[in-house]
């Protein structure tokens, strides 16, 4: 990169506030008919013209896979890219719990409106009402679509679909396929995608990584990729570009994301002008297997459903180093049940995570590192009998034992929170279009639907809603209403984008320092976890904002990337991703610093109620913060999207 | 015993034919044109193998039952051999049924070996490199892993067996239709090495049947989650019964029981 060594000494945190950003695509009026009216307002593309229109999709998870397949079916020429060796491996596959849909098959009072209401409230009033309502409407179609594809959802003896309640919701609206719902839904989308590849409407580029966005005349017109096997840098041009490249949890190094998950596609778009919204909204999942040592490369999630029967506790006494089974019941602190008697062990994710952190901060944490709490099934086994517990959680217990070597039937599990999902992402309007015309963003990569906190079983719903139903409808409007002349291969913008990728690759390879990419990534992750993790304070964030640029500079001077660019080079791939994580990390800390309130996954130490709960500040922060890039290490510009709550009126969440 | 022999006469010829056809067959077979024309589907080849195997197995059962006539005395065995030749007379000519069986068996043997050769060649190119860390063995899969070499050994044995007890060429007695005398001379205690060879060959057949029967049932789609174990047990028991039945005759002769 040309600006690799030249960061101007402007104070990064001295950001300016620019013009508000406004969602112009979303209709006003009654919320129930907004989506219908928007769909009618979309200009249609003549079916014959679709064949000559090219769309690039980056990412092949639920959102990208579903969008590729659907756009292919519609007749567009689609090129789909993924870094994995097959689109079927996208990390959507790892989602365990389930997918919400307002089917009300249980007759338990569910409805589109209730799902809408729960999601806005669960998101702590930082999501856009129109988008969330549309999501709730579409949730029903998703289940129909997936069943038609042959997704083997769990069923009851009568042959109809089974549902369960999930994540502290009072209705039973979560459809599931054992603990592998993400896998089964992704395979459905993957199969639909493979069908289109066979039909010739979609061209698949596996093991290709997007490294730059091509913007011509202010419009997104293509991408620059690197073939991860040959190392060849290629340009791909199109009429529109869809990013469905997932979240950025790996900025923390340790997370439940796959090792390859990265922010590069989104970040490159951000650098080219797309606003990045609410980057500090990260979800920390309470039930993960604790870190076992410095070698740890990733964290494994244990399904949230474990909290239905497991009881969370730590020793009451400080420095109690007895084994868990030797500690009598009255010397155990069942801290969730104690603090939140109404919800007990079933409080939402952010609250459970923070409570665990608190007891560990008090040095009452368990396990070798002291960073863990017990999740105990002793009572459940006595009450229900071991066979019943085995039937419900057998596979999870096995997984736990495989990883830790401990038998959870005999010794309580140890769990600790881990970074799981990022609610923030590229800013999009109601059409899922970013601030760069022609650049659409779907799934976890965008910011739109979950606000400051995502409810369980909603990520799958959003990815598929965007991919199958929203994007294929709205993208046509852009294509129909814009006169898009073909971009020549040697247009200056194309050559420039390509050159910048070449330069960056060359720079990374030529530094030849003394530290590996992973060592930088680990250190960055530790900074983020310490200062921008479960609890953030002004002091900590300012410290992080000092540490990150320092480390970034060291990275660009001292990283060691072996090998060449013209081969499969996994160190080089990682180096490029970590380089972008550095810049994102800085923005996340700034966003967290500026948002001096606690909401959802963002907890500011300075903003709590007298009894230590999160205190939201709707008057000052009732907006989505969309940041504009101005240069590496330079203060970005904040654009606010004011959020209006016409239907669900903000209240303080309480689980006491 | 002699009932086998004529058939395997044919069979020898057939085996020879296959061998001689091998080189011209090799080209239209698996390697060369497979890229251009669609290959003969592997599953279809497996059906051929399963169905031909089924005929061969049925024959083995009848053969074994016939062999056991020796325990009713020499005349019983010889009479049985003669009866086979006059079976269904005069509706069919002398040895008519026998020749019909021989033809069916010959076709089965050709089909069995042909499909085996094609599938083996495909397997070679589908799995060209061996693991340096050793090829891990699936528990109880010895029979499965020895199907190919076992098959070759059985084929060679059959050639010997035909020359021995059908044509009588290699038999110390070697008189047509004197079945009992031929057998008695063959497995005389002094010729213990012949008995030993037969024992080894029959065990090879047993192993082949053990995996072959289960495999054939699976190929024909008879297996499912519930039936898998019972079918495997059935195949193993079947193979043991067949092996014991065939071993009984040579061992009985050698140890002077009959």
């Amino acid at each position: 990169m040309t600006d690799a060594h030249t960061t101007t000494p402007v104070n990064y945190s001295d950001y300016e506030t620019g013009e508000p950003v406004v969602d112009k695509a979303g209709p006003s009026g009654p919320i129930e008919t907004r989506w219908e009216r928007r769909q009618f307002g979309v200009k249609l593309v003549n079916p014959a013209n679709k064949r000559s229109k090219k769309i690039i999709v980056v990412g092949s998870g639920l959102a990208g896979g579903a969008a590729s397949a659907t756009l292919g079916e519609a007749g567009y020429q689609v090129s789909t890219f993924c870094y994995q060796d097959s689109p079927r491996r996208a990390h959507s596959i790892a989602a365990q719990g389930g997918i919400n849909a307002a089917k009300n098959y249980r007759n338990d009072g569910d409805s589109v409106y209730r799902l809408f209401y729960d999601t806005v409230k669960g998101g702590d009033f930082r999501a856009r009402e129109s988008n969330v309502h549309r999501l709730a409407e579409i949730s029903r179609n998703i289940i129909d679509q997936c069943v038609a594809q042959g997704v083997p959802f769990a069923r009851e003896y009568g042959g109809l679909l089974d549902t369960r309640s999930f994540g502290g919701v009072q209705v039973s609206r979560t459809f599931y396929a054992r603990g592998q719902t993400g896998q089964q839904l992704l395979l459905g989308a993957y199969q639909a995608l493979e069908r289109q590849i066979h039909a010739g409407t979609v061209t698949m580029f596996p093991r290709h990584e997007m490294l730059e966005l091509i913007v011509v005349d202010g419009r997104a017109r293509g991408i620059v990729t690197r073939d991860m096997i040959s190392g060849e840098v290629e340009t791909h041009l199109a009429d529109a570009v869809v990013l469905a490249s997932g979240g950025y949890g790996n900025v923390f190094y340790l997370s439940t994301n796959a090792k390859g998950c990265n922010v590069t596609a989104s970040w490159r778009a951000h650098r080219k002008g797309a606003l990045f919204a609410n980057p500090c909204f990260t979800q920390i999942h309470p039930t993960c297997i604790p870190v076992s040592g410095d070698h740890q490369s990733k964290l494994t999630l244990m399904s949230e459903s474990l909290r239905n029967d497991g009881r969370v506790w730590v020793p009451k006494q400080l420095g109690d180093d007895r084994g868990p089974n030797e500690i009598p019941h009255d010397e155990r602190d069942y801290f969730l049940e104690r603090k939140y008697p109404a919800f007990g062990n079933l409080v939402p994710r952010d609250i459970a995570s923070r409570a665990a952190k608190e007891v560990c901060d008090e040095k009452r944490g368990v396990g070798p590192s002291g960073l863990g709490v017990y999740l105990d099934f002793d009572d459940a086994i006595q009450r229900l009998g071991r066979p019943a517990v085995e039937a419900k959680y057998g596979n999870l217990f096995e997984m736990y034992e495989r990883i830790t070597g401990e038998d959870p039937y005999k010794v309580p599990m140890r769990i600790f929170p881990a970074v799981h999902y990022t609610m923030g992402g590229l800013w999009v309007d109601y059409d899922l279009q970013s601030t760069i015309p022609g650049l659409y963003v779907a799934g976890e990569a965008n910011f739109s639907d979950h606000g400051a906190n995502r409810l369980g079983a909603s990520a799958l719903m959003q990815g598929l809603a965007d991919g199958y139903f929203v994007l294929p409808n709205t993208i046509g409007d852009y294509i129909a209403t814009n006169n898009l002349d073909p971009v020549p291969d040697d247009a200056p913008e194309v050559l420039e984008a390509r050159r910048s990728v070449d330069d960056r690759v060359e720079t990374l390879l030529s530094i030849n320092g003394t530290r590996t990419v992973d060592s930088f990534h680990r250190e960055l992750g530790q900074i983020m976890w310490d200062y921008c993790g479960m609890e953030r304070t002004e002091e900590g964030l300012r410290k992080a904002l000092d540490l990150i640029p320092e480390l970034r500079r060291e990275f660009w001077n001292n990283v060691k990337v072996p090998g060449t660019g013209a081969e499969l080079n996994q160190s080089l791939e990682k180096a490029g991703r970590v380089a972008d994580f550095f810049e994102l990390a800085e923005l996340m800390c700034l966003d967290a610093l500026h948002r001096n309130e606690s909401c959802g996954g963002h907890f500011r130490g300075e903003s709590q109620t007298p009894d230590g709960e999160a205190a939201r500040d709707d008057d000052n922060f009732g907006y989505a913060a969309a940041w504009e890039f101005t240069g590496r290490g330079q203060a970005p510009v904040l654009h606010k999207e004011e959020l209006e709550f016409e239907y669900v009126h903000p209240t303080q969440r309480s689980y006491k | 015993m002699h009932w086998t022999a004529p058939h395997f006469d044919m069979c020898t010829g057939v085996v020879a034919t296959v061998t001689s056809q091998k080189s011209p067959r090799k080209d239209p077979g698996p390697s060369a044109p497979a890229r251009r024309r669609p290959k003969l589907p592997g599953v279809l080849l497996k059906f051929v193998m399963a169905v031909s195997g089924a005929f061969l197995l049925l024959y083995l059962v009848l053969h074994m039952v016939g062999n056991l006539k020796i325990f009713f005395g020499g005349p019983a065995l010889d009479a049985y051999a003669a009866w086979l030749r006059t079976l269904l007379e005069p509706a069919v000519p002398y040895e008519g049924v026998l020749w019909f069986v021989r033809v069916v068996l010959s076709v089965s043997v050709i089909a069995h070996i042909w499909s085996a050769v094609l599938l083996t060649l495909r397997a070679r190119s589908a799995r060209p490199v061996k693991y340096a860390g050793g090829n891990h063995k699936v528990k109880g899969s010895y029979a499965a892993r020895t199907m190919r070499w076992g098959g070759v050994i059985i084929a060679l044995f059959v050639v010997y067996h035909l020359l021995d007890l059908t044509t009588g060429t290699l038999n110390p007695n070697g008189v047509h239709l004197q079945v009992y005398d031929n057998v008695a001379a063959d497995f005389a205690p002094s010729r213990w090495y012949v008995t030993l060879f037969y024992v080894l060959a029959v065990v090879a057949v047993g192993l082949h049947v053990r995996h072959g029967l289960w495999s054939g049932l699976q190929t024909l789609g008879a297996s499912n989650n519930r039936r898998e174990r019972p079918l495997k047990i059935f195949s193993a028991v079947f193979a043991v019964v067949l092996t014991v039945g065939f071993l009984a005759v040579p061992l009985a002769v050698t140890f002077g029981v009959v």
Binding site: P152, Q191, A192, Q570 | G133, T219, E228
Partner: protein, 251 residues
Amino acid sequence: MKLNLKVWRQRDSVDKGRMVNYEVDADEDMSFLEMLDVLNEKLILAGDEPVAFDHDCREGICGACSMVIDGQPHGPQKATTTCQLHMRHYSDGDSIVVEPFRAGAFPVIKDLVVDRGAFDKVIQAGGYVSVNTGSAPDAHATPVSKVAADRSFAAANCIGCGACVAACPNGSASLFLGAKLTHLGEMPQGQPERYERVVNMVETHDDAGFGGCTNTGACATACPKEIPLDVISQLNRDYLKATVAGRRNRG
């Protein structure tokens, strides 16, 4: 613990490749891949090239990891992918041989990385229900018996890692193929294309260079998701019905 590793090193698809010995210090809580991470960090700092291997989710579901450990795909632990295999199953001084999946249809790209694109081709040939987005009836329009749904799920559990092919002495992908055919074949939604599907997928399977099945069961033993062997029986049965019984043309 100190381990002696013998790792297959191959620069690219053209290189002949060879086994190289390494020593590595491992901790018993590490996963097998974390042990390789440690090796790679060491190699990079020593100025060598790290060992390339496929991996992604590291929680046993994406199916990316693909290596043969001491002759067994995914190593010695039953029902466990390489990423979930932990070093506590090894002890100080052990020697471990690590190789790529070996199959004609899975050419080696580099070191332990192989190309499993043939699996995608097999799915393209018919491993789906031909339903366009938006054309679906209500999810409850077609009840599916719990037994069928469960059996379908057991087969749909396949993660497409290719261990079945790597373990098979014939390099056959019958377990992978049978799993997809069973997944769709057990569901009413999969019925209209059922017989067309099996014929096309089998043809593509063979053309991709996979061998024929000899029912050794090595695939089901190696499968980290314990896909039952009887899916191959179902594949055979459907193929027989499609071709010999002529169902394919009758639909």
